[in-house]
Amino acid sequence: MSKDYTTMWKELGLNLQAHDGLLSVLTNAYKNIYLSQKNRPAAMDYFDFVISEVHGLRIEELLEAKKANKKIIGTFCIFVPEELILAVNGVCIGLCSGAEVGSDSAETHIPRNTCALIKSFMGFKLSGLCPYVESADLIVGETTCDGKKKAYEAFNEITGKVYVMEVPHKKDDSDRFLWKEEVEKFADKLTELSSEKITVEKLKESIRIVNEKRLALQRLSKLRAADHAPISGLDALLINQISFFDNPVRFTAKLNELCDELDKRVKSGVGVAPKGSPRVMIAGSPMAIPNWKLHAVIEGSGAVVVGEESCVGERNYRTLLDTNFSTVEGGIEAIAERYMTIDCACFTPNTERLDNLEEMMKTLNANGIIHYALLFCTLYMMESYKVQSVFKEKDMPFLRIETDYSLEDMGQLKTRVEAFLEVIREGNSN
């Protein structure tokens, strides 16, 4: 980090000693996993910088925004409409998770057998390690799984600033109606919190900003279809993770710069791994910073991850939002409709996800699929069986991984992944 942020962290109430420890572990992990990669695109510099300042400069920016009376809205899920937050001049920020932190404190509020992501966001807060949660004026939860739904009750007792949106679990007319009302209520909540009125113009402008961001992420995804892969899966994952933290306008500009470079790489046949390296797609549970474990194992074994069918990935940017409305009500309805296209495993049935997976495998020229589920992430663990049956029918190599943020299963994980890559390579040579 370029300057000393100790005073800022102290004022936010962070546990300074533990936070220093966390940052030094993260810096080392980043060096080993990211900076050791070969032939990275030059434009990754920006994203390296963002990560190095993720608890520094970015937090300073948030505090500046707060001084200018902007509201900071913390989220955990892609169901929370960023467009509405921007429409009240707010800042939408993903909260900390993704590392094994403060499990013992978290276990005083939630059971031991809870998914790593939930345990981690509780642990981050309880250990005083997340400057985002401390900066947030409102934390928006959602009912996408039972674990989160109940954890938000405890999280509200601890933080006093949780607001929960109810995401329905079917997509019938009544469910769409309920969701539209939830989006309206959220708009009211934001208006009340920020004293900013939502207008058609503001809504259109914020939709444009978020659409542009999603378009840039789609562009990155399409570029990964090339063999030579112009960028590693690790770097692409990082960019997707940063899309939840960074200023959206700046992020979009920087990502487009990177994509320009990748365009050139694809045209001149420059890549990060030898042509013909196994191409793996990852599907399933989201991977919050710094959960880079599976990508690191796969790419460390000589394959390239070419796509993430995940909330930190394709699910976040697959659909754009229609700006063809002329009233605020119409805009809110368009937002509600767009978010109901998300193929989250919380829905039943969820056949769209299977279609989307097949489509992605084809467009990304993937040779195999790894279904990743965090332990105790019941919904994605359950859906993995359905996904397996679809790909088994097509004779497409499939591997199911259930793991968490710990490193204790690294040996087994490596053996499974390497054996899976052997299967892909043998299939290719036949």
Partner: protein, 245 residues
């Protein structure tokens, strides 16, 4: 050219050398705390021109030994197929891991399943239980099916809890033959559950050190109702498979 395969397992390091006439020699030593020096000792007894390493310690050789590496899944599949060309499924119970592997017609790996991170159902599980019952590991499983199995079963999935269960049964005065039977049956159930996730085809090769346990072999035959083959040195099949690459 003399080819060798080195299988660095959690409990033993196995070394297979195929000389230019195709004759195979097997060597085996405990892994211990310094696997590299054990490997050196094995090399000293029989040098080869080409080495392929496998097993959980395979990457040790990649760094320091300039050897190719393959996973134990590919290696054991290749080794099993070499000694039993009819093989379409492999059950491999090693020290820390249990694997079931389904092979394609041509012998390549089609799919595989592994136990979770814990040692339930592995060789280490059986070792700990044998010790609790006062058996030498080579004797464990020789009792076979007891005439009176007292209808006991081991219910714990976890090795440590299962050991407590065994101690509880011993203290109830249950015969050790009956407890041994229940333990073998518990391992069989766990491995059979894994086989259900893959396409089990005839013929099955049972590989890994645990295949020397006659009771386990008999139980798999009863449960799976398929042809099960065991090589005279089933623990060497991964090393052999590596040597063949």
């Amino acid at each position: 050219m003399k080819r060798a395969g080195l299988d660095i397992g959690s409990r033993f390091i196995k070394y297979a050398v195929i000389d230019k006439d195709g004759a195979v020699s097997f060597y085996k030593k405990e892994t211990g705390h310094n696997p590299m020096s054990v490997c050196e000792e094995l090399f000293d007894s029989d040098r080869a021109d080409r080495l392929t390493a496998t097993g959980y310690g395979r990457h040790l050789m990649e760094i320091s030994g300039n050897a190719n590496t393959i996973t134990e899944i590919k290696a054991v599949a290749r080794g099993a197929r070499e000694v039993f060309p009819c093989c379409r499924t492999v059950i491999d119970i090693g020290g820390q891991d249990t694997k079931v592997i389904s092979l394609k017609q041509d012998g390549g790996v089609q799919s595989f399943e592994m136990n979770d991170r814990c040692a339930a159902g592995t060789g280490r599980f059986l070792e700990i239980m044998a010790k609790a019952l006062g058996y030498d590991i080579r004797e464990f499983g020789r009792d076979g099916y007891p005439s009176d199995n007292s209808n006991i079963s081991i219910n714990s999935m976890c090795t440590v809890f299962a050991e407590s269960e065994v101690i509880g049964l011993i203290n109830k005065g249950i015969k050790r033959e009956a407890i041994s039977y229940a333990l073998h049956s518990s391992v069989t159930q766990k491995v059979t559950a894994l086989t259900k996730r893959i396409d089990v085809k005839d013929d099955i090769v049972f590989a890994g050190g645990c295949a020397l346990n006659g009771t386990l072999v008999d139980m798999f035959k009863d449960t799976l109702q398929k042809n099960i083959h065991v090589h005279e040195t089933p623990d060497m099949l991964a090393a052999l498979g590596a040597a063949l690459y």
